[in-house]
């Protein structure tokens, strides 16, 4: 019994003897192909899990269908992440992990962005509110823009982080700058300046900020997170 395509009638069991390739495919893959013919690229089963490759621009519609349709009911978004391969000619893949709790199914959706194409995919936040931070982290680590996300800014690194997007393969493990330079940049930001525009406008102490800082903020600069 493979967990990716569980028959809801039978009780779930620990998967055994899963083949590397092949095996039963999640029925949602066929339904996606039938409905979204041109957007469907291919589907494969690896270690019992079904992966459906789709075109990046159609991701929102497909996820909306998977969420709303009564025979799919993928009501739970596990994860949104991205994969960049060491072979830099291969496209960068954005990955969505979806679960259907009523049907006990798991589906992986992938959108491939070829090298040279702009890193933009639609955001699924209107469908799953849990995608908020997951997409922000994907943006922070890979630089992928999620169209439709209301507040896409860095989350794990600080907003003026200047070294780049850490999980890209061209980003060295220890960063691009020397240790003293990294430390200098980290210490340069004052803790008080780490407020976003939203936070500062409601702050009682807005008047107390230095004039130069208020001017920069009025000019649209965002400080800190």
């Amino acid at each position: 019994m493979v967990s990716g395509s569980a028959d809801p009638a039978s009780a779930p069991a620990t998967p055994r003897g899963i083949p590397h390739r092949g095996g039963p495919m999640n029925p949602s893959a066929d339904r996606i192909r039938d409905r979204f013919g041109s957007s469907f690229v291919r589907a494969e089963v690896t270690w019992g899990e079904t992966t459906v490759f789709v075109r990046p621009e159609s991701v929102y519609d497909i996820v909306r269908y998977l969420h709303d349709d009564a025979s799919e009911q993928y009501d739970y978004l596990s994860d949104v992440t991205a994969v960049e391969y060491r072979d830099l000619e291969l496209p960068l893949q954005v990955v969505w992990h979806l679960r259907s709790l009523p049907y006990r199914r798991f589906l992986r959706l992938k959108a491939e962005i070829p090298k040279g194409a702009p890193l933009r995919v639609p955001s699924v936040m209107p469908i799953y509110s849990g995608a908020d931070w997951l997409e922000r982290e994907c943006f922070d680590m890979f630089g992928i823009q999620f169209d439709g996300h209301p507040d896409l800014r860095r989350i794990l690194m600080w907003e003026q982080y200047a070294e780049g997007y850490p999980l890209r393969k061209d980003f060295p493990l220890r960063g691009r700058f020397s240790r003293s330079e990294q430390l200098r940049q980290a210490l340069a930001a004052q803790p008080e300046s780490r407020y976003s525009m939203t936070e500062l406008t409601i702050a009682d102490a807005f008047e107390d900020l230095p004039l130069e800082m208020r001017q920069r903020l009025a000019g649209g600069e965002k400080t800190g997170e």
Binding site: P166, F171, P172, S178, Q182, L183
Partner: protein, 208 residues
Amino acid sequence: MGLTARPDHQLVTVSPQSTEGWVATRLDFLVNWGRANSLWPMPFGTACCAIEFMATAASKYDLARFGMERMSFSPRQADVLICAGRVPFKLAPVLRRIWQQMLQPKWCISMGACASSGGMFDNYAVVQGIDTIIPVDVYVPGCPPRPEGLIYGIMMLQEKVKRERMSDERLRDEMEPDPTSKLYIPPSMIDELSEPFGNSVHQTRSGL
């Protein structure tokens, strides 16, 4: 492995005309005894070492025996900053600010490998040792250090406190950071302290 104080000839500069007499040494003893036995820790706990710190403060390894059960989460009321856990670059200004908010006399214990040297996190995100940001008195190695190890480090700090002398004017001097770079030790020294077994900017031969 006892804790007999080893005579350190460079510890205190005593001029031959020093007026330090019997009263001053008794006063030193009293003040240092009071300070050493009632160090109020400021637990700057970030990660796993913080859990071991909590275990050290709990019943089995009780820190209250050392006068340290009163955790001071306000830096204004704390004596010793125990940095327990890894410090990423985003947290560095916070740590620096907390250290500056503490009042003299203050000490610092760097608990664990990550606080002492960056530990296993030799990457873009982690400060390679908090001694690049704040002055550290005692380093406690371990990942995480056992409670006995932390207690040993605390006892070492107590020994250090007891050996202080009021006649040493430079004891409470604080180094001011360079105003432009905010670094208080020269960049070349930071790079040297942060080195892995190779050079920190170029990747090492084994690709690790």
